[in-house]
């Protein structure tokens, strides 16, 4: 009951699965993007810009950002649960982290939108 504060209840198995799925998405995306950068020595603005203006790249990047936010939320929630014992303080910290992550998600979407 108390755990469902901020209406974000943490169900162990669900968190476990989300953490792994998001990890795989981010690993594939990061390794792919690093590979792209390594293959294009002296990458020009036009190339970089056209990469991110493609529909599939935008979708992949938004998937990455979404994974990042979910992954970070579960990770930080776990850290706070382990180290921040006072309930009120932990709830406040969790609230701000959640706020920041949601804001960052929309920021990321807007960045891609403008490309």
């Amino acid at each position: 009951m108390v755990k469902s504060v901020l209406s974000v209840s943490h169900q162990g198995l669900r968190d476990w699965v989300i953490q792994r799925l998001s990890a795989i998405i981010m690993a594939v995306y990061s390794i792919g993007l690093i590979g792209y950068i390594l293959c294009h020595k002296g990458l020009s603005f036009a190339e970089w810009h056209s990469l991110f203006s493609q529909q599939w790249m935008k979708v992949a990047t938004i998937l990455f950002i979404l994974s990042l936010m979910l992954h970070a939320w579960i990770g930080i929630w776990t850290i706070f649960t382990d180290y921040v014992k006072p309930f009120v303080l932990r709830s406040i910290l969790n609230f701000f982290v959640l706020l920041m992550l949601i804001a960052c998600f929309f920021w990321g979407v807007l960045i891609l939108w403008s490309v």
Binding site: R20, A23, A27, F45, W48, G75, I79, G108, I111
Partner: protein, 123 residues
């Protein structure tokens, strides 16, 4: 009655098992990466505008900036490598005690190699 038993209270001769060190560093690097999220987004936003891309390019030419980028690549690389190790343990690859230790050592070696390579690539 006192029984003589071996004691070792010298903290410099005992340490956490390696897999535990990998685990805590995975957590610490994750927390650092969390703090870096807004900066990465800022970088992405900059890099996708014409003038911003040029500005970023000029910045990266600076040795100090290069070093800072390289510094921030360390938690990224370590988190990625340790995360892959974690996923492998989930599917029971290297989850025995003996293999767990070797995998922990391997995590450090691969991370260190990648960090060095990243440095070489940056310069």
């Amino acid at each position: 009655m006192k029984q003589p038993r071996p004691k070792n209270l010298n903290l410099f001769t005992i340490h956490f098992p390696l897999p535990a060190i990998v685990s805590i560093l995975h957590r610490i690097s994750g927390a650092i990466l969390f703090i870096l999220i807004p900066f990465i987004l800022l970088g992405l936003q900059f890099s996708l505008t014409d003038t911003g891309y040029e500005t970023l390019g000029n910045w990266v030419d600076n040795v100090c900036v290069k070093f800072i980028i390289w510094l921030f690549l360390i938690p990224f690389i370590f988190h990625l490598v340790a995360g892959i190790r974690h996923l492998l343990s989930d599917i029971h690859i290297g989850d025995t005690l003996k293999m767990g230790r070797s995998m922990a050592v391997l995590t450090f070696i691969i991370s260190a190699l990648l960090v060095i390579l990243a440095g070489v690539w940056l310069w």
